[in-house]
Symmetry: C2
Subunit: 115 residues, 2 copies
């Protein structure tokens, strides 16, 4: 019954994806690791700003960070994306099931009357 924890996770996940800079970082990282400096150059933004975006992404589980010399390279954690997809797919499945039911009933009634 730790549903609340899942909700927090989903809050962090979707909130992280709700910003286009962070979404673009995700896309960028899907094709390989990157450092803070590289990302700052890419987005014409200070390293501080990028660092804050990365903190949001890290809290959401979408990325993780290592250490290599003076750099803190970050990499994508695609399992977090899978969590988001599975939440969405559950809603879509419920909806699809209901529509199947409606179609069936409509086919039975063959008519739209007292609605």
């Amino acid at each position: 019954m730790d549903a609340t924890i899942d909700e927090e996770r989903l809050d962090a996940l979707f909130t992280a994806l709700g910003d286009r800079t962070r979404r673009d970082i995700v896309v960028r990282l899907s094709s390989g690791e990157a450092t803070v400096k590289e990302l700052a150059e890419r987005y014409a933004m200070t390293m501080q700003a990028v660092s804050q975006h990365l903190r949001v992404l890290e809290r959401s589980g979408l990325i993780s960070r290592g250490r290599h010399r003076q750099t803190r390279p970050c990499r994508l954690e695609p399992e977090a994306l899978a969590v988001a997809v599975s939440w969405i797919e559950e809603s879509r499945r419920t909806w699809a099931e209901r529509m199947d039911g409606l179609e069936t009933r409509l086919a039975q009634l063959q008519e739209g009357d007292d609605r």
Copy 2:
């Protein structure tokens, strides 16, 4: 070329899903339409607050609203969810392709050396 428009759409979509009340409204609507009043009772919230959440959801394309007597029933638009999924899946696909490449190269090298 209208990539900006898509980005705006994704901003609205993921931002809408970044709030647990709105996510729960999506889940609720996946099993049928609902009115503002019904949702307000469900979340122990004023109708005004629900109305604002619904506006966010509507702007994102996740729901649409009709009119029936004094009520404004809202229903889910699952195609918007599909947009979110397809964005996510593209990142995951890119990542998976890259990992395949890495695996292949690692198998060729048969060794982890100068790392």
